[in-house]
Amino acid sequence: MPAPPAHRLRFLIAVALGAVLGAVLLRGFVSDASRQVADEAQERQAVVTLQALTSLVRRAGGEGDAVRSAVAAWQSRTPSAPQARVFRADGIRLEASTAPDDAGDRAAPRRLRREEKPLYDRSQRIAAAVQTNREEQQARKPEIEVAPAGARLSLAGPLEKNGAVVGIVEIETAPLPLPKPAGWSGFLLALIAPIAVFGGLAFLLGEKRLPLLAAAVVCVAASLSWMGRAAVSELAAQQQRAAEQVAERVRDQATVTQAVATAQVLPGAAAAPGSWDVDDFRQPLGLLTPDGSVNPQRLAQAVDTAARELRRTLLGAGALALALLLLVGLGAFNLIGRSLRRHRQAYLYIAPAILGMVVLVFFPFTYGVTLSFTDSNLYNTGKAISDVWIGLRNYADILGDFAFIKRGDGGSFVNYLNFYWTLLFTIIWTVCNVTIGVVSGLILALVLNTRALALRPIYRVVLILPWAMPNYITALIWKGMFHQQFGVINQVIQLFGFPAVSWFDRPASSFLTALATNGWLSFPFMMVVSLGALQSIPADLYEAARVDGASRLQQFKAITLPSLRPALVPAVIISVVWTFNMFNIIYLVTGGEPGSSTEILVTQAYKFAFERYRYGYAAAYSTVIFGILLVYGSIQNRVSRATEA
C-alpha cells in the first residue's frame, strides 16, 4: 500500500528550512555590511584627526619646541585620540610625543631607541609609498597606514616639508566602541512569520501539491523581501549617522586646530577642514563640503551604491533559500536520501576518497578557476574575490596578444613572455623529445631484441637506469655537467680544441641542454615498451615471410611495425602529456634562461604565480593549459578508439 501523500508536512519542513537559511544568510550579510559602515566611519574620523594634527604640525614648522607645544595643546583638547607622536626621519628623532611612556628621561625630543625600530620602519614604508605613487602618477601604495592595535586604531601619515617626506605623524585612537549587534526581533519574526502563515494556509488548502508550492514560495519570498527592505533602509540610516559623525569630528578638529594656532601664534592659513576627509592615498573622498558639513548629494549617491550592492547580495541569498525550499518541497532531497540509503554501502566505501578529493582536488581546482577571473596579486591578497573581479580580462590578455615579435630600437626581438611564444616552444619541446625518445628507444629495442646477443640482460639493466632515477636529481646532475667553467661537457669540447660554450646564455643552446637531459631520462620508457612488443611477435611470422622471399626491409614494414603499433601508440600518447608537463627538467636545468625564452607553459605559469606574484593571471594561464590538455585528451580518446575499431 503506498503511503498517503504528505505534501503538507514536506512543504512545512521546506518552508522552515528555506526561512532559516534565508534569514541566517540575510542577517550575516546585513551585519557584515553594517559593520563595514561602522568601521569605515571610525577610520574616517581617525584619519580626519590625523590630518588635522598633521596640518598643525606642519604649520608649527615641523620640528622644534613649537611643534611640541602645539602637539601638547592639541592633545589636551582631543580626548578621542589619547596619544600622538611626531617622528623625524632625518636624525631618527622622536620630535614630539604625548604617549604616557614617553615621559621623564624618555621624553621627546630624543633619538629613537633600538626597540622602537617598528616606528622607523613605518616611516620608511610611508616615505617609499609616497615616492612610488608620485613617480607612477597613481595611487597604488597606501600613504596613510591604518593598523588595528587591540580595540584601538593606530594611524600614521607622512609629514611633508617643501614636498618631501621628512617624517611621520602617528596617533592612536581611544578604544573604539564595539559595534552594537542588530536586534533579534526582526530576525525571529522573519523566521516565525512564514512558518506560521504557511501552516495556516496549508491547513486551509489541504493535500494539494501546486497550491501548497505557490503558498510556500510566496510566504518565504514575502518574509525575506520584508526583512531585506528593512535592512536596506536601516543601512541607509546608519550611513547618514556615520556621515554626520565624521562631519562632527571635522568641525571639532577645525575648532581645536584654530584655537591652538591662535594661542601659539602659528603662521599660515588653515586649510579647508573638509579636505581632511581623505582615503588611504590622501585623495579627498569628497563626501563633505570644504567647510566640513555633509554633502547631501554625494551622500545620497554613496547610500544608493551601497543599497544596490546589498540588494544584489540579498537577492542571491533569497534565491538560495528559495532553491532549498523547492528542492525539499518537490522531494529532490527525499530522492537523494532514498538513494543514499539504498546504496549506503557503496557510498560508505567511496566516502573517504571522495571527501579527500573534493577538499584537496576539486575545491582547489574550482577556486583556481575562480581566481582566474580576478586580478589577484601580491598587493591585494586580503581583498574579497568580488573586489578584484575583472571578468575575462586575464584570458583576453593571454590569448589576445599575438605580438610575440616586437619591434623596438635595434631591430625586432621576441617577447618571451608572450603566451604564443611559450606555446610554440612547448610544442617544439614536446615534439623533439617524443621523437628522440621513440627513435632512440626503438633502435635500442631492435638491437636488444637480437637473440643470443651476449650480455643482453646487463645492457638492459644499465639502459633502464635513467628512468629509475628521480628526475629532479637527473636534472640537477645535468645542470652541473653543463656548467660553463667546471662542467664536464665543456671540458670535452675544450679537449677537442673548441672554446667553452656558455650554455644558458642563448635560447638555442639552453634548449639543447634541456633536450639532452630529457632525452637521457625518457628513452628507456620507449625502449622497454618497444622491447616488450617486439618480444611478443612470434618468430614463425618472420620464418614464413622469409620463405616467401621477403626482404629484411619488407619484413620490418609488414611485420615489425604493425606489431609495435598497439604498444607504441599509447606510449606516445602518454609521453606527450608527460613531456608537455615536464616541470622539473625545465625549472631545474634551464630555469627559463636566458630571459624566460626556454619556459614551457607549466613553468611559465609557475613563475607568473610565484616569482611575479600575479596569482589571477597565473590561474588563467593554468586554466588555458588545462583546456589544451582536455582538448588533447578528447582527440586522443577518439583516435585511440578509431585505431581499436
Partner: protein
C-alpha cells in the same frame, strides 16, 4: 634450433659497439655523480685544472674517477648537515602517504568495481579528468587550504594528506581494473556462507588483489619520495625539508655544495632505483593500459 632473423644477417660486433656507446652515454652521468660524491670535495669539477691546461689535464677532468678517494662527503652529509633529518621526513611522509593513499584507493576502487550506484560513471570520469588539472593551478588554493586554513605549513601531515589524495585517481583506476578481473562468484559464495560485506572486502577481495595493491603502494611511495614542487612550496622551515627539497638546497641559488648533493643523491636514489628495477614490468603494463583507456 631456430635461429634468429637478425643474427643471420647481422654480425654482433657492430651491435655491441652501438650498445657500448649507448651504455657509455647512459652511465656517464651516474659515474660522474659517484666520482663527485667520493671526491671528498664540494667542487663540481672532477679534477682541478692548472691555469694553462694541457689535453692530458682536460682528459683527467673528464674521466669519472676522483683524484682522491674519500667517503667524507657521505659521513658529513649525514652528520654535519641536516640530511639525515630530511631523509627521515621523506621516509615518514612517503610511508604514511602510502598507507593512507592505498586505504582510500582500495575502498573506493572496490566500490567502483562492485557496486552499481548513481554517480558511479560521473565519479570515475571526474577522477580521470582531475589527472589533467595543472599543478600550478592547484598550488595556490592548496597553499591557502593547507597552510593558511589548516595551519599545516611545514608539517609532515599536510604533505601526507595532499600526496595521498592526489595519488587517489591513478591508484583507483589501476586497482579497479584489477578488482574487475576477480570473479564475483567468490564473493557470492561468501555471502551465502553468511559473511558480512566488510569481511568479504578485507578477507577475500583484498588478499586476492595483493599484487595490484603492492604495485599501487610502491607507486604511491615512489611518488611521495620523489615529489619536489609541493614540498618546496609547503616546507618553509629548514628542518622540515624533505630530501628532494634538501638536495636542491645544496646546489640551488648561490650555494654550490656539489659534494653533499652528489652523496645525498646516491643515498636517496638507491632505494627507489632498486624498487624500480624490481617493479618495472608492472609499471609499464599499468601505465600503457591506463593510456589506452584514458
Amino acid at each position: 634450433m631456430p635461429r634468429s632473423r637478425i643474427s643471420e644477417e647481422f654480425p654482433h660486433g657492430p651491435l655491441h659497439a652501438m650498445l657500448a656507446v649507448a651504455v657509455l652515454v647512459t652511465i656517464y652521468p651516474v659515474l660522474w655523480v659517484f666520482s663527485i660524491a667520493f671526491s671528498g670535495k664540494q667542487s663540481l669539477a672532477i679534477a682541478d685544472l692548472p691555469p694553462t691546461p694541457t689535453a692530458g689535464d682536460r682528459l683527467r677532468a673528464v674521466v669519472p674517477w676522483p683524484e682522491k678517494l674519500s667517503v667524507s662527503n657521505f659521513t658529513s652529509v649525514m652528520s654535519d648537515q641536516p640530511f639525515a633529518r630530511w631523509m627521515l621526513n621523506s621516509a615518514l611522509v612517503a610511508i604514511f602517504t602510502t598507507l593512507l593513499g592505498v586505504f582510500l584507493a582500495c575502498t573506493a576502487a572496490y566500490a567502483f568495481s562492485r557496486f552499481k550506484f548513481p554517480g558511479r560513471r560521473v565519479g570515475m570520469m571526474a577522477f580521470l579528468v582531475s589527472q589533467m588539472f595543472p599543478g600550478t593551478l592547484m598550488l595556490i588554493p592548496l597553499y591557502i587550504i593547507i597552510v593558511q586554513l589548516l595551519g599545516l605549513g611545514s608539517s609532515r601531515i599536510g604533505l601526507i594528506i595532499v600526496y595521498a589524495t592526489t595519488s587517489i585517481p591513478f591508484s583507483v583506476w589501476m586497482l579497479k581494473g584489477y578488482f574487475d578481473t576477480i570473479p564475483k562468484e567468490l564473493e557470492e559464495a561468501a555471502v551465502i556462507e553468511g559473511a558480512s560485506a566488510g569481511k568479504i572486502f578485507w578477507r577475500i577481495v583484498l588478499p586476492l588483489a595483493k599484487p595490484a595493491v603492492a604495485i599501487t603502494a610502491l607507486f604511491s611511495f615512489m611518488t611521495a619520495w620523489n615529489e619536489f614542487i609541493l614540498a618546496a612550496t609547503f616546507m618553509d622551515k629548514e628542518n622540515m625539508y624533505t630530501a628532494p627539497v634538501g638536495l636542491r638546497f645544496f646546489v640551488g641559488g648561490f650555494s654550490q655544495q656539489w659534494g653533499y648533493f652528489a652523496a645525498g643523491s646516491i643515498i636517496v636514489s638507491i632505494p627507489v632505483v632498486l624498487l624500480f628495477l624490481y617493479l618495472q614490468k608492472y609499471l609499464v603494463s599499468g601505465l600503457t593500459a591506463g593510456g589506452v583507456k584514458g
